[in-house]
């Protein structure tokens, strides 16, 4: 019952804020924070019990939502280690971000609306995590899309925000297009939507491998959309138009992680479809590398972090693709901490400087020490420096990749780690230590904003030890047991600390830091040195490989201005004017022609009459 309360409370709060306490901003924010904190408190006992019982039996509760002849759809919750960890991440990071928002959004005219949307988002996100079947996950999947639409478009007066919200929703929709088709494929292959039952069916070998590959790839489309993988990654950077806490909550810690969570939830499917896994791994690896490269050439603090998020998501998907579901989930969790931290830190900086441009900041360290220190810790975790959390989780992914035997992907991963280190050091150096370029008087943010930063930084530092190799039960085992019915998925799944991999990645990271530091710590730098040295590369990266451009000019324009216009032309000119009005016109013209026989000449009529009589007579004569 408590699980249902967990799900429903944020919804009730959201509706309550929207309908009742809209005018009372303080109360709205407390209600919203309360909802998510209560959620956290509900999850906490489950989490604490987990290490003692890593092979817990999944708890399933469900009621029938639709029941007609031939179709039964349930709504239900599934509690297993996987969902507990995800619930923890969502409610914990969510709570901190809610608290932070209370400070950050202070004085905003849409304060209550913001919190109503946040609660709606938490509701939808928890729905995804708790789902026990594919339809329910899809339902909440879409609701998350709605909530993110509302939050990204929060400053709806800004055209760029309105566009970004629309873009996010639509790009997600394109992914969902594949997702829902994948659900149908699975339904017709197995006759059920329920995860556990589907898993049984697949384990029993009832489904042909071709169908499985198809279903896996289609479902992966959903994750590609939500977790912003290439080629549907374009919405995420634009989504930074939303308020910063939104970026932290949605576009770092939770919503984008939903795709990865969903892949983990359906990992049994991928385990049974190795062909699909290869594609998943490559898309993840490519996204990671591409996003890191693009991040190099960005100068908007939130965009840099956004692209680093893309890169991290690529990592997670890569992990799933090489069979390291546990590694992926582990990275998801640590990433939630340090990325939320980075975003909130960035928000604190933006709050202080009133700009997003890192080249208009610099020398902020003396002014905002708490923010700077926590940001610094988050950066180290993000880069994956020993012994911060990012190190452990990234290492698991890299070693899983290495073990899978795909050295190309492994090289991509190492390269990404290197580039990540470069641009994160650039970010830190330019923002906090470089020349003073800010205007006005930046000051430290209020306590309500810094305390969440401190808490998050603690987790960003230590969370990695949950995956410490010597630990038993290790994080990886939790997630594995999520698919208990299937047992072990295969050889890839087992992780061992690989010293070679760890040292390689550490060398890459340290190299990256050194490079970034040495380039960007020079005095008197006004803008990116890369733009001067490598103008073409910089331009290419700054424009994000021109992918948005290609979409806009070719796909969107082709559909909007091409296909839609052509069809509209057909509709207006051919169907309506030519066929419909044309047939009416033809009848009218015939009428006009026949009208001319009405000469008004009496004797013409008499003439026709006599002629008619004549004809009748001739017929008469011929017959008789």
């Amino acid at each position: 019952m408590d699980i249902w309360a967990l799900l429903v409370i944020p919804l009730i709060v959201s509706v309550f804020i929207a309908l009742v306490t809209r005018k009372n901003e303080e109360l709205s924010s407390y209600l919203s924070i309360g909802a998510v904190v209560i959620g956290f408190l509900i999850v906490l006992p489950y989490l604490l019990k987990l290490p003692g019982d890593p092979h817990m039996h999944p708890i399933e509760q469900a009621f029938t939502w639709i029941s007609i002849k031939g179709l039964k759809i349930e709504m239900g919750t599934l509690i297993d280690p996987l969902s507990i960890i995800m619930l923890f991440v969502v409610t914990f990071v969510g709570s901190l971000i809610h608290i932070y928002s209370k400070g950050y959004m202070h004085g905003d005219p849409g304060y209550s609306r913001f919190f109503a949307c946040l609660s709606l988002f938490i509701f939808s996100m928890l729905g995804i995590v708790l789902s026990n079947n594919l339809i329910m996950i899809f339902v909440f999947w879409e609701l998350v899309g709605l909530a993110s639409y509302l939050l990204i478009g929060y400053y709806f007066e800004k055209p760029s925000a309105a566009d970004a919200a629309k873009k996010a929703f639509l790009v997600n929709r394109i992914g969902d297009f594949g997702f829902i088709l994948g659900i149908f494929v699975i339904y017709y292959a197995t006759g059920t939507f329920n995860f556990i039952e589907v898993e049984h069916h697949i384990a029993a070998g009832h489904v042909s491998s071709g169908t499985l590959t198809l279903a896996a790839l289609l479902i992966f489309c959903g994750a590609v959309g939500k977790s912003a993988q290439f080629p549907l990654h374009v919405w995420l950077p634009d989504a930074m138009e939303g308020p910063t806490p939104v970026s932290a909550l949605i576009h770092a810690a939770t919503m984008v992680a939903a795709g990865v969570y969903m892949l983990a939830r359906t990992s049994f499917l991928y385990a049974a479809a190795p062909d699909a896994m290869v594609i998943v791994a490559y898309i993840g690896g490519f996204t990671a590398l591409m996003a890191a490269l693009i991040a190099l050439a960005q100068s908007d603090i939130k965009r840099i972090i956004a692209f680093s998020t893309l890169s991290s998501l690529g990592y997670m998907v890569l992990a799933i693709g090489v069979g390291g579901t546990g590694a992926g989930m582990f990275y998801l969790m640590t990433h939630a901490f340090f990325k939320a931290l980075l975003f909130l830190g960035a928000g604190s900086v933006i709050h202080a400087c009133h700009t997003n441009e890192i080249w208009e900041m610099g020398q902020l360290y003396p002014k905002m020490k708490t923010t700077a220190v926590t940001f610094f810790l988050g950066s180290l975790a993000m880069m994956g420096v020993f012994p911060f959390s990012g190190f452990w989780s990234k290492d698991e992914i890299l070693s899983a990749t290495f073990q899978s035997g795909n050295y190309f992907l492994f090289a991509m991963g190492i390269l990404t780690a290197f580039i990540t280190a470069v641009f994160i050091s650039k970010l830190v150096v330019v923002t906090f230590f470089g020349d003073k370029k800010y205007h006005g008087h930046p000051h430290e943010s209020p306590k309500v904003m810094t305390i969440p930063l401190i808490i998050l930084s603690v987790f960003a530092v230590v969370a990695g030890f949950a995956g410490f190799p010597g630990l038993e039960p290790n994080f990886g085992t939790f997630v594995h047991t999520a698919g208990a019915a299937l047992g072990e998925h295969g050889a890839h799944a087992e992780h061992h600390f690989n010293f070679m991999v760890a040292s390689l990645s550490t060398i890459a990271v340290l190299g990256g830091i050194l490079l970034g530091w040495s380039i960007y710590s020079r005095k008197g730098m006004k803008s990116d040195v890369m733009a001067e040295r490598l103008p073409f590369t910089y331009k290419f990266l700054e424009n994000r490989f021109y992918i948005d451009h290609i979409y806009d000019t070719y796909f969107v324009a082709w559909i909007y201005n091409g296909l839609a216009k052509i069809l509209n032309y057909i509709e207006v000119n051919i169907i309506i004017i030519f066929i419909i009005n044309g047939s009416a016109y033809t009848v009218r013209q015939i009428g006009k022609g026949l009208r001319l026989t009405t000469t008004g000449q009496l004797q013409n009529y008499a003439f026709v009459m006599v002629g008619g009589v004549l004809v009748l007579m001739i017929i008469f004569a011929a017959i008789l």
Binding site: I68, F138, V139, L181, F184, L563, A564, I575
Partner: protein, 498 residues
């Protein structure tokens, strides 16, 4: 309520109100509106009572009434409802009830006459949904179509003469084919059984020859299809929506188009199972034109009403796809979609009408930033837009999901296109929301007023509530639809394929 003729009461209430209104003076505005509201709320209450009182375990036709009318020709006033009819009647009741309020706000001239035609139309619609006699079905059908002509012609907006002419001609054209099919059924069934009757159930029990069924299915499909509207005979509908006053657009898109689908379901499919087996796969192909083409045309339209108009024809494509599946899931989904789309589109037209009545333009590019001025309308419009693009939590999602699941087995390709159509819908809906409600507010729209009074808000609130209730708890209506769908589908599938 045992023995009380509920169905007749539902049909008669608007007619009685019409007669009363005829004797009132134009100046008695308050009384005119009060009578209309009272009548329609009576209909709403009665239809909700039917929804509640219908015995789902028993199924079949209930609340049946029968009075012989012309015995020698086998015509009788024969009404009754099954699950499908109840869903449609509840839909109609909601739409007309809210429509009366929308007209309250929107119609300022010839108020009395407006309500007279509106109620006349609704009586016809109710009649169609409950008739179990083919001739009465046709009579009510015409009664529902004809008042459209004055309603659009007199109270319409730009281009109304053209629109109303086109609409009426189109619908009469379709109706002629439907009549042809109905008469053919009457004579052929009569010749086969020896008893000439318009009784749908009696004719439905006969097993007519397969080749005949295939032949006569076509005029019925075409006749009702024009009203659906089945592409490429859809062009009357967007312009009709665009020119009609809000309440009429609501009824038109919300209910009238459903008459066509209902006719196909009840008469064509219900009485000619072999014909349905033969032809519905073709419909499954044709509906793609509706979905895809209608969607893309909607995308390129700048006039909001035209956009919703084309989107309606796009959505009716999903209904046709659902009907074409000929299985429980798909047909259930189609009927539910008829219901959901009716409510959704009524909401759309009432909102657009609300804005148009103040701004006197419906062009998206004329607006921006209305969400600041009209927060209530903006929220309602967004809910409508999301319902239309199939967002979970709103009724359309459930219906579309069922249609897709039902259709995926036999028509996977169509489902792929149809799901893509949802993206197209989302595209133009979101673009419309962005253009109209988001971005910087403009000074010239400072004069617009939000919906604040009870009368203004009531229709929006009711329609949104219905969308949400059905979206969250679809069983409330799906269960009852299912009782009507199951025997129908069973009957079609019982026919041997040949």
């Amino acid at each position: 309520m045992e023995g009380f003729p509920i169905i007749s009461a539902i049909i008669a209430a608007p007619l009685v109100a019409v007669i009363i209104l005829l004797f009132l003076k134009d100046e008695m505005l308050w009384l005119v509106r009060a009578i209309s509201v009272a009548t329609t709320s009576l209909c709403l209450v009665l239809s909700l009572y039917m929804l509640w009182a219908y015995d789902k375990a028993k199924g079949g036709y209930q609340f049946v009434e029968r009075i012989e009318w012309v015995k020698s020709l086998g015509i009788s006033y024969y009404v009754g409802v099954d699950g499908i009819s109840i869903a449609m009647i509840v839909l109609t009741s909601f739409v007309i009830f809210t429509g009366v309020f929308v007209s309250w706000v929107g119609v300022k001239q010839r108020v009395r006459e407006h309500y007279i035609f509106l109620l006349l139309l609704v009586a016809g619609v109710f009649g169609v949904f409950v008739s179990l006699d083919l001739l009465f079905f046709y009579l009510f059908y015409e009664l529902a179509v004809i008042p459209m002509y004055p309603l659009i012609g007199i109270w319409g907006s730009a281009n109304r003469e053209y629109a109303t002419m086109k609409l009426t001609l189109y619908l009469s054209f379709g109706a002629v084919f439907a009549l042809l099919g109905i008469l053919s059924l009457y004579f052929v069934a009569g010749a086969q059984s020896g008893v000439y009757t318009f009784d749908m159930l009696a004719i439905g029990k006969l097993s007519l020859e397969r080749s005949y069924q295939i032949k006569v299915f076509l005029p019925l499909l075409f006749g009702f299809g024009v009203l659906v509207p089945l592409a490429p005979f859809h062009s009357w509908s967007p312009i009709g929506h665009a020119a009609a006053p809000s309440a009429v657009s609501m009824l038109h898109a919300g209910v009238l188009m459903k008459l066509g689908a209902y006719g196909i379901l009840r008469i064509a499919m219900g009485m000619l199972p072999a014909g349905a087996q033969f032809w519905m796969p073709y419909v499954a192909v044709l509906c793609l034109i509706n979905i895809f083409y209608g969607g893309l045309v909607a995308m390129s339209r700048k006039d909001m009403k035209f956009m919703i108009g084309y989107s309606s024809s796009s959505h009716m494509g999903y209904v046709l796809l659902g009907l074409a599946t000929l299985n429980y899931i798909g047909v259930n989904g189609a009927v539910l979609l008829m219901f959901a789309h009716g409510i959704m589109t009524a909401l759309a037209f009432s909102l657009i009408g609300f804005i148009y009545d103040q701004a006197h333009t419906r062009m998206m590019y004329d607006f921006s930033g209305l969400a600041k001025k009209l927060p209530f309308v903006a929220v309602a419009f967004a809910i409508m837009g999301f319902a239309s693009s199939g967002l979970p939590g709103l009724a359309n999602f459930v219906a579309e999901l069922m249609v897709f699941i039902g259709a995926f087995k036999d028509y996977p390709f169509q489902v792929v296109i149809a799901v893509f159509g949802i993206i197209v819908t989302a595209t133009y809906m979101l673009r419309c929301i962005r253009d109209v409600f988001f971005r910087e507010p403009q000074d010239k729209w400072d004069g617009l007023k939000d919906a604040t009074t009870f009368v203004e808000r009531l229709p929006f609130v009711i329609l949104i509530a219905v969308l949400l209730v059905v979206g969250f708890y679809p069983s409330i209506i799906v269960d009852i639809i299912n009782t009507g769908v199951v025997p129908l589908v069973d009957k079609i599938n019982a026919v041997p394929h040949g």
